[in-house]
Symmetry: C3
Subunit: 348 residues, 3 copies
Amino acid sequence: MTLSALASLTGAEVSSGSDPDFEVQDVAPLDTATKADLTFLDNIRYREAFSRTRAGAAFATSAMARFAPTSLHVLVTDKPYRAYALAAQSFYPLPDAPPQSVIAPSAFVDSTAMIGRSCVIGPGAVIAEGVRIGDQCHIGPGVSIGRNVEMGPGCIVEANASLSHCLIGAHVRIYPGVRIGQDGFGFAIDVSGNVKVPQLGRVLIGDSVEIGANSCIDRGAGPDTVVGEGTWIDNLVQIGHNVKIGRGCVIVAQAGVSGSTVLEDFAVLAGQAGIAGHLRIGKGARVAAQSGVMRDVPSGMEVMGSPALPLRQYMRQVASLNRLVRKKDRPDGEGEKDGNTATGNAKD
Amino acid sequence: MTLSALASLTGAEVSSGSDPDFEVQDVAPLDTATKADLTFLDNIRYREAFSRTRAGAAFATSAMARFAPTSLHVLVTDKPYRAYALAAQSFYPLPDAPPQSVIAPSAFVDSTAMIGRSCVIGPGAVIAEGVRIGDQCHIGPGVSIGRNVEMGPGCIVEANASLSHCLIGAHVRIYPGVRIGQDGFGFAIDVSGNVKVPQLGRVLIGDSVEIGANSCIDRGAGPDTVVGEGTWIDNLVQIGHNVKIGRGCVIVAQAGVSGSTVLEDFAVLAGQAGIAGHLRIGKGARVAAQSGVMRDVPSGMEVMGSPALPLRQYMRQVASLNRLVRKKDRPDGEGEKDGNTATGNAKD
Amino acid sequence: MTLSALASLTGAEVSSGSDPDFEVQDVAPLDTATKADLTFLDNIRYREAFSRTRAGAAFATSAMARFAPTSLHVLVTDKPYRAYALAAQSFYPLPDAPPQSVIAPSAFVDSTAMIGRSCVIGPGAVIAEGVRIGDQCHIGPGVSIGRNVEMGPGCIVEANASLSHCLIGAHVRIYPGVRIGQDGFGFAIDVSGNVKVPQLGRVLIGDSVEIGANSCIDRGAGPDTVVGEGTWIDNLVQIGHNVKIGRGCVIVAQAGVSGSTVLEDFAVLAGQAGIAGHLRIGKGARVAAQSGVMRDVPSGMEVMGSPALPLRQYMRQVASLNRLVRKKDRPDGEGEKDGNTATGNAKD
């Protein structure tokens, strides 16, 4: 692929001094790329590796382009990682769908299920009655799809995942071991025996959603649980019943969202964050790793800590605590050897 | 179902002014219920939605009943959510068990396994030698039940769960992807190579336990791991080897209990809480979300924080820290704009 | 097995006064062991149970041996738990591999896959094209092994696990529901739609690794994800793409390691710990339970808290906070009843 082809694919510009006809054969990270490879610089942290890279070409911002080694052909763009993603997709396209659907002999497909064209159904997969699967879907080995589940075209469901009580959009990717549509955690606590509340809702998954390995999304109790278009969910994430997640949200590994909470569009939960139930996390709000959110978060706000505070307030709290420790350590003004380390941490 | 039938089912009373012969056809949440629906008010937070509901009838406490719209028929009870749960169960009963057991052709059932009457064994399920399954059990697709596992009547094991080295009581519900009875994390650390300690115990699960999707319960190392009757476990929970969990406990999603710890009856662990090993969590004790418990918790106590403190002490700590931040912000007594926010947080 | 046989197996010494010809039939915990059982004392916490044990023989350190009841035969060793592990292994050896490989009729094995000698392939297992499995491997029911995966001899893969894009060493044990080799969480965030970055690396697992139930290890984005020889991973652990884990590391349940982070040999992550991306955790470093690591940790250091601090600094912070609470509680020097409790906590 030539630099000019890459430029037109990604919207980047070939830098002056770079050759638009230069060809790359593959993509690779900064440190292992060779002359035939395309790479990228997105994080200033890796600037030095960038200066030393032996790659043939790279995406970088105009500010970073000047750190390129002289032998490197540079494609300038505001979004180097996005450009790299698009280029890498063109080097590694998804495999073609087969002309006709291929159903493994050991798969079980109920006679009332409807399978679209050009699908692959893997060995041991189980497709129950009334299921409808769109064209060009790939259902992996050992997957279980329960009664009346519907799925749009172009979906991938990987090994041993299980789906029930849900409607899945188009181009959704469900990783191995994902659990969608099982009952939520709904019961009335009672010393004479907890009483289960029948869970009656579904899970609605929008288009182009990705759901990471072994993550769980419970069906709604009465209303539906919803995951909006283009939202990305990492591994081992818990989504409780009735939760509504907007478009383009990002939920990192091992985070959890309790029942009936709303995440507005583009909200981000970092790893191991936890959100209490019945809250609203505003549009574009960001929750730091391991934070515990116990109240609504306004749109655009970043929160941190457990319980979570607005970022500035959290930082002041950490700084105050560090000062306090330092003060106690030097009651007579003498200080001690690692007093500076304590301060150092507050700055991070 | 008439109000008087609901009253006798749940122990509620038809309020004066409500019609005992009024009929409801279904259950629904406050905000989407229509004239033919039964709903409930349990959380004062939703009082306003209650005042505006278009439901035909609702369970509520006597204190809340006066906020009902005039058109609403009210069933008065101390436990509205429990009453609603019972009513909903009667509208949505579990499906009838088949008269004779139905075993999918693609299931593998060892010739020495004993399957009770009226069971359903799904496609691809694997039942090993010596297994005993009680009457009216439902074993989902792709479930694996290992050698000599025993299970009482009325159990449901959902898709792709795996069980080994365990005895399961009656009416236990095991959600998709649950792992029960695998080896615990037992080994002697050694720089020349960690040495595995054979895990020899079982997992004993009492009657009416529910275990959420992708949760894990390890077999005991020497003694057994135990989960008492009526305990509810949410998704992605970790229960280590030798743990003893009493009756009626509640363990919310992503919480973890380390090896050899004891949870006495009715203990509650909120989401993402973690309990260190070899501890005792007393009867009815409550551990707040994300808390990390490193010492025994007396019966009835509520603890919070990481490391966890008694609730009152934790709250004082949070308040002190907020005061400290505020004080630093106003060295000359002037204060600053969001000083009140800091205080506001301490009150939450 | 006689005491002298146990001594030569484990390197322990028969204490003076103990009979080298005394025989034990089984292993058991201190509190349930009988005259025919071998037990051990490793934790001073259980010294009293040791003094009362009815076991026939026990491993203990020379310092602890004097607390033994007179009837107990003692094997003295510096590493009682390791010695016990070795002895227990000899009482409970792994089952013999069959003379010839046994492949369940309902398993699917692609015609291009190569299965070693003396393997067991369980019902419903799926082995894709190009897979190579070493001798004496045990593949459980419902396991999915994707295209071109290679696995050394003596591995155990338990029920419903799924493997793809990986090379597995010898004697690796993979627990039920483990997910290895799926795509990592790699995409360029973009409001017009996140753009997936193709994940091209593999997962390399060294010899004698154990990976706990429902844990997830993502394939590398470009480079490989690596888990070194003899590392033990507990249940529900998340390992992100490109992570490099050294030899002999220990990662306890529900911990998570973000993408591109390096754990050097013998690092230990306690339960629910989280490590941010692109960090280096030094050789033998220890991260306490629930800690959140946001910066590199030097070799041998122990860190705690979220964000994590060096242990001594963290302890000072906790102590300062407790003093602050106490001071506020006694503005006039009077103190209050549970002031001592607060101090008590700081000592723990």
